[in-house]
Symmetry: D2
Amino acid sequence: MFDQTNEIKVLRDPIHGYIHISYQVIWKLLNSSEFQRLRRIHQLGGDYMVYHTAEHSRFSHSLGVYEIVRRMIDEVESIATNVTQFEKIQVMCAALLHDIGHGPFSHMFEHLHNRTHEEMTVRIILDENTQVHQILRDCHPELPEKVVSIIQHEHEKEFLNQMISSQLDADRMDYLLRDAYETGTSYGNFDLERILRTLRVHDGYLCMKESGMHSVEDYIMARYHMYWQVYLHPDAKAYEILILKFIERYKSVHKTCTIPVFEPFCEKEFSLQQYLLLDDNRVMYGFQEAQFSKDEILSDLAYRILNRRLLDWIENPSEEEEIAIKRSSKNAEYYYYEEHSLNKQVMPYQELSESQTIWILSACGQIHPLSKCSEIVKALLKMENVTKKRIYFQKND
Amino acid sequence: MFDQTNEIKVLRDPIHGYIHISYQVIWKLLNSSEFQRLRRIHQLGGDYMVYHTAEHSRFSHSLGVYEIVRRMIDEVESIATNVTQFEKIQVMCAALLHDIGHGPFSHMFEHLHNRTHEEMTVRIILDENTQVHQILRDCHPELPEKVVSIIQHEHEKEFLNQMISSQLDADRMDYLLRDAYETGTSYGNFDLERILRTLRVHDGYLCMKESGMHSVEDYIMARYHMYWQVYLHPDAKAYEILILKFIERYKSVHKTCTIPVFEPFCEKEFSLQQYLLLDDNRVMYGFQEAQFSKDEILSDLAYRILNRRLLDWIENPSEEEEIAIKRSSKNAEYYYYEEHSLNKQVMPYQELSESQTIWILSACGQIHPLSKCSEIVKALLKMENVTKKRIYFQKND
Amino acid sequence: MFDQTNEIKVLRDPIHGYIHISYQVIWKLLNSSEFQRLRRIHQLGGDYMVYHTAEHSRFSHSLGVYEIVRRMIDEVESIATNVTQFEKIQVMCAALLHDIGHGPFSHMFEHLHNRTHEEMTVRIILDENTQVHQILRDCHPELPEKVVSIIQHEHEKEFLNQMISSQLDADRMDYLLRDAYETGTSYGNFDLERILRTLRVHDGYLCMKESGMHSVEDYIMARYHMYWQVYLHPDAKAYEILILKFIERYKSVHKTCTIPVFEPFCEKEFSLQQYLLLDDNRVMYGFQEAQFSKDEILSDLAYRILNRRLLDWIENPSEEEEIAIKRSSKNAEYYYYEEHSLNKQVMPYQELSESQTIWILSACGQIHPLSKCSEIVKALLKMENVTKKRIYFQKND
Amino acid sequence: MFDQTNEIKVLRDPIHGYIHISYQVIWKLLNSSEFQRLRRIHQLGGDYMVYHTAEHSRFSHSLGVYEIVRRMIDEVESIATNVTQFEKIQVMCAALLHDIGHGPFSHMFEHLHNRTHEEMTVRIILDENTQVHQILRDCHPELPEKVVSIIQHEHEKEFLNQMISSQLDADRMDYLLRDAYETGTSYGNFDLERILRTLRVHDGYLCMKESGMHSVEDYIMARYHMYWQVYLHPDAKAYEILILKFIERYKSVHKTCTIPVFEPFCEKEFSLQQYLLLDDNRVMYGFQEAQFSKDEILSDLAYRILNRRLLDWIENPSEEEEIAIKRSSKNAEYYYYEEHSLNKQVMPYQELSESQTIWILSACGQIHPLSKCSEIVKALLKMENVTKKRIYFQKND
C-alpha cells in the first residue's frame, strides 16, 4: 500500500553503521527543503565551543532517531505485531521530523521570537505550503495529523508516543551515542543492541524485559554523565549567556541599530517562510554584521560570540567574593549572570508520572516501575537536593 | 643505576596500544619461567564458558597492570617527584608479579591444596630457586622483599601499595578494561586517560582531583556492571560449582582413584616446583584422565567440566519448588548447591577503611572521602541489603 | 520442517556483536563434545607467543564463520531466494564444523600423525559414533554427507562451497577481523558490512556488485598486511620450528623416551577417540612431561616451548655469516633451520582457477574477474617474485 | 625562553584522545580571531552532502595536525635532538596555521576571487594587523617569517618542511584519520602509533625505519581508498559543480543582481578584513539571498545548493547517450559538465621528486626510496593510466 523505494537505500552513519530507508515517503521527506535545513542547525548549540569536534547537526541526529525507531519496529517482534503498516509509517515520520522546528543554538533564539521549537515543529508539519506537509499528505491524507499526534504525545497507541518521547526513547538513545562519539568522550556509551533485544510492548506500554535491566541502569548513568560532562558544562553555559545577552540587548536597541536578519522576529508575528530561513548560518552572519554596530555593547557581545571570548565564572562564591565581583562589574545587566542549579533537576531518571516511568517486565509477565526492581535506581532516587550557585562575570584585565 | 634496555621495547596490546619496557629487570622477569607460566592460566577462570571470547590469560593482564603503573609514574608529576628510581622499579615489579602465584581457574584449586594465591605469590618471589627471585635479587639485593612488601600492602610509602591494591588500583583498572574488551561487553569501559590525568599524590596518599570525580563515578559503575554481567553470571558460577564438586569428590576417592597430576596437592606439603607445574593445561589433562575413572561421579563431573554440561538453576525458589528439587536430587552432595548472595557484598564501592577509600582532592587542597563529594556515591552507599537465593541442581531428563 | 529454538538464542561476540542461533541442530552441534573441544585449540597456533593477546580459540572463530554465513543467507536476497531451507541448514552446519578436525598448534601436529585436519574433519562428521554425526543425522539422514560435500568443495551448488572456501569466504572474513581484534593490530580490518551489502549470487556463482569493488580491494590488502604482520612473523615461525623439531626428535627417541600422550600417534593407526583427546592442553602437558625426559635434546626443546626460548634468526645472511653460523651450530639437526620464502606465495590474491577468482558483477549484469576491473589488483598481480632466505639458529651465549 | 602555560592544557579530541598544549604562543594563536574563524569553515567542503556526518571544521583538523607534529617532536628522539626550542615552536605554529587562509567550500571560492588559499595563508601570517601576526611576533620577531618559510617548504631544515607537507606529513595523517572517523568509513584508518614509532630523521630527511614499512604501505592504501570512497565521490563533485556554476553565473550578472556578501570579491582588490569575514556562514547566507534574485538561473542554482538538488551523472556514456543528453540540455552552460579523470592523477603515491618521496631507512643505515623496498608500491607505480569520462546534466522530469 505504501510505496517502497526500488531497493533499500542506505546512508553510511558512524553510530548506526547504515541508515536504512525503504519507504518513498521517508526518502522524500529527507530531501525536502525543511529537512535539508537541519543540516544548518548544530545539534548541540554552542557546545562545540567546549568540545571542538561536536560540530554535528540536527540532520544527522534526526536520521539516527529514525533508524532506531525503524529497528524497534523491524526487530522487536511485540512491536512489529502490534502496529499496522500505516502506524509504522506514522512513527517513522515522527522520528524523522521530531526536531524539524528547531532553530539556531538550541533554545536560545526562542528568547527572541517567543515560540517554542515544539510549536514550530507542529506548524511546519501542518502548514499546507511546506514540502514536508505536502509529502506527508500525498502519502496519506491523515498522515500529517497522525505524525503531530505522536510528537505531541497524544496518539491513541501510547507506545508509539513512547518510542519518540519517554524516559527510554529513540531521541535520547541517538543523541547520547552521537554526542559521545562526536565529543570523543566515552561517557555516553551504552548497550543499544541489548536494549533493542530486551525491549517489549506489554499492555500497550513500552517496557524492558528484566534481563535487560542492567543495560537500562547503564543507559541512565550514561545520561547522568553526559549531563555533567557535556550538556551542563560551565563554559557551554557561558557561551549561551553571551547569546542570551546579545538577544536582550538587540531587543532594546533594535529600533536604532537594526540588523535585518534578526528584525522580523522582533515583530509580534512572522511568517513560516521567515522562520525557515533562520538557521545557524544566517544568525552567524547576523553576529558578523552586529560587530560593526554603533552600539558598543551589541558589537562587543557579537565579537565575543564569534571569537569565543567567554565570561569568567566561579562556583559557590563567598559573600565577599560576590560583592567584590558585583561592585567591579560594568554594564552588569549584560556582563553579570547568576545561576542556581539543583542536582535533582538534572537527575538522570525520575518517576514523576506513569508515562515518564521505565517499566520492567518480569519473567512472570508482570510490569513494575524500574525503581521497584533496580537497587541502583532505588538508591539514586533518594539522592539529596544540593544547590549550587555559579556567577559569570567579566574579568577586568 | 638500574640497567635499561637498548631501546624501549614495546609489545602491542589492544587495551593500551603498546606495553613499554625500558628496564632490564622487567624484561628479564617477563621472560622468566614463572611469568611465562601465566600464559597458561586463564584470567577469568571459567567465564569463557559463558562469554566464549573471554579466553585471555593472566599473562596479558599482568602486563597491562604493569603498563598502567608505568604510566602513573611517568605521567603523574606528583608521583614522579615522590619516588626514587629504586621505588619506581619496586612498584613496577610488584605490578608485573602481583598475580604470579595464581593457579588454575581462579581460586578454585585453592580448595584442593588450601593455600591462597597471595601466599604462593610471596613464596615464588622469596624462594631462592625461582628465576623470578634471582632476577630481582641480581637487580638489587633488597628488591624481592620490597616487592613483597608492596604486594602485602606493607610498604612504608602507602601510595605505592595503593597503586597495586586499593579501590582505584592498576589491577582493577586493567581487568575491567580488558575483560570488557575480551567479552565484547561495553560495560567495563571507563575513561582511563582522564583518571590518569587527575590522579595525584597528596600527603602520601593516592587521590583524585575534584575535576576527575565524574570519571571515578563512571569507573565505579563500570565495576558494578561488570560484576553483575560477567563476574557473577549464574552460569559462570555453575561452572565453578562443577570444579568445586570435582575437587571435593576427588579428595574423598583419591586413594583408590588416583589421578597423578592432582595427587601431590592432597598431601599436607607440596614443593614449589610441583605448584608451578599446575597450570590450566595440566588440570584439563587431569579432567580428561578423570573421565576414564572407575568412580562414576568423578567421571561424570569431569565429563561435564570438559563438555560444558552445567547444572541448572532457579532464583528465589518457592518452598514447594525447593522441596521438590531436593527430593528428586540424586547424589545431592555433588549435584545440588545453594547460594545466598547479598547485593551489598558486591557493592562496587564501600568505604570500609581509610586505605580502601577513594580520596578526592578539592581545589583548595583538602582531601575528602569520595562519599562526601559525590552525590551519586552518597546515594549508592545507602543502598539496601537484599538477599537472593539461588539453587543449582541436576535436571532430570 | 527443521526444528527451531524457542526463541533466537544469542551469544555475545566482540566481532559480530551477537551470534544468532535459531535452529535446534546448530544449538545441539554447539553443545557436542567435538565442538566444545575446539575451546581447547588456539586459533593461531603459537602466534600468542608474539602477540600476547592472540589467545583465542577455534571455538570462537567457528562461531564467527557460522554467523557470517547466517547473515549472507538472511541478508543477501539473491542467496536467500536460491537456497532451500535444507541447503541453508547444510551450509550453516558446514560453517560451524569446517575446522572441527583441527588439532593443536595449527598444522604442527600433522607432522606427528601424518593426517591433514581436512581428513580428520570429514572423519569426525561421518563417523557414526561422534555426537556431531548423530546430531546431523537426526536432523536429516543426508545431512552429514551434504555438510562434507560443502567442506570438500563438491556440493552441486557451487556458491555454497564458495561461502565456506574461496577467495572471499566467511572463513577468511572472520579470521581476519578476529585476529586483528585479538592481536590489537588495525591491519585486518575491512568493511564487512559493505561486502555483505554488495554480495550477490549470479549464474550460481558468488560475486560482488561493482559498487563494492573498493571494499574487496581493501579486504585483499587487509589479508596482505595480516600475513606479513601476524601470520608470517619470524618469531611465530621460530616457535613453530621448536615444535616441529620436538616432534622430529620425539619420533626418533620415542621407543626409549616414551611420553604417553604422544605415543598413540607414532602408530600407523589411531582411533578417533584418541585423536579427539589431543587438544592444546594435552600437548602442553606432554611438553611438561618431556621436560623431565632423560633425552637432553627433547627435554631442552620442551623447556624452550614452555618458556618461550626461541631460536635466533637473521634474514638474507651473507655467505660468510651463513658459514659461521653453521659451523658453530651444535646439534644442527634440531637447532638450525633454513627458510626460503617467495613473496608471491603469500600474495593476498591470485587468480589461479575459476573457483579461486573473485567475480565482479557489472552494472549491466555481466561478470568479470576482479583483475579485469580493479587497477590496483591488476598491478598487484604483476608483482615480481622475490626470494628471501631466513636462517634460524641457536645463539651461543 | 619561550613561555609555557601554567599546566599542560588539554582539549579532548576523538582522534588523538587529547590535544596537549604547553606553550603560551600556541594557546594564544588558538584563541585568535583568525584561528577561531576556522570553526566556520567545513573541512571537507561539500562532502557532508554525501556523507552526512562529515560536518567537521578546519579548526578541528588544524588542532589535529598540531598534535601530530607535537608528538613527532616529543616522541621521536632523532627529531627531538635535531631541533632547537625555537625550531620546535616554528614547526608547531606552522602545523596549527597551515590552513589559516582557507576559504569556504575548499577551493571553490578561489574561482570567485582568484587567490589561492596558500597565498592567503601567507598574507594572514605576515600582515601586521592580524592577531595571528602579532602573537607570533610578540613571541619572537622572526617567528612569522619562519612559520611562512615552513609552510612554503623553504625552511633550511628540510625535515621541518616535510613534517608539514610531504608524502608522509602530519596534515595528511590527521585528515585521513579524521575524515574516516567523521564519515564513518573504516578505509582511512592506518597505524599512526607505529608510524610515529618508526619515524626517524636521517641526514636531515624524514624517513621510516624498515620495520615500519608495512604501516606505510597500509597508510598509502588508506589514502587510495579515501580518495575513491570520499574525496572523489561523484555526488561530492556534483555539489561542487553547483557552486562553481553559481560563481560563474554570479560573475556575469553581478552588476544587476548584486548580492552584497559576494560583491567585494568581484573587484580586483579586496582587503584582508573582507576576506576574513568570508566563511561558510556568510556564503550560505549569500545563497539564501540569491534564492530571491530576479535572475532565474542564479536563483535556481542557489536553491539547489541549499536543498541538495544535485545534477545527475553517468559514467563513460556512449556517443548516442552523450548526444541525446547534450541535445536536451537547457542552459547547458550552467547545467552540463564534462569531467575526464585519470586514475594516475589520484594515485595514492608517486615518486615525482626527491622531496615527494617516502624514504626508508634500512637496518644498515642506508636510505632508499619506498619504491625500491616495497613490492606492493613497486607494483602500484606500474599501474596503467585509465581515463574515465563522467557527464553531469539536468534530468528532465
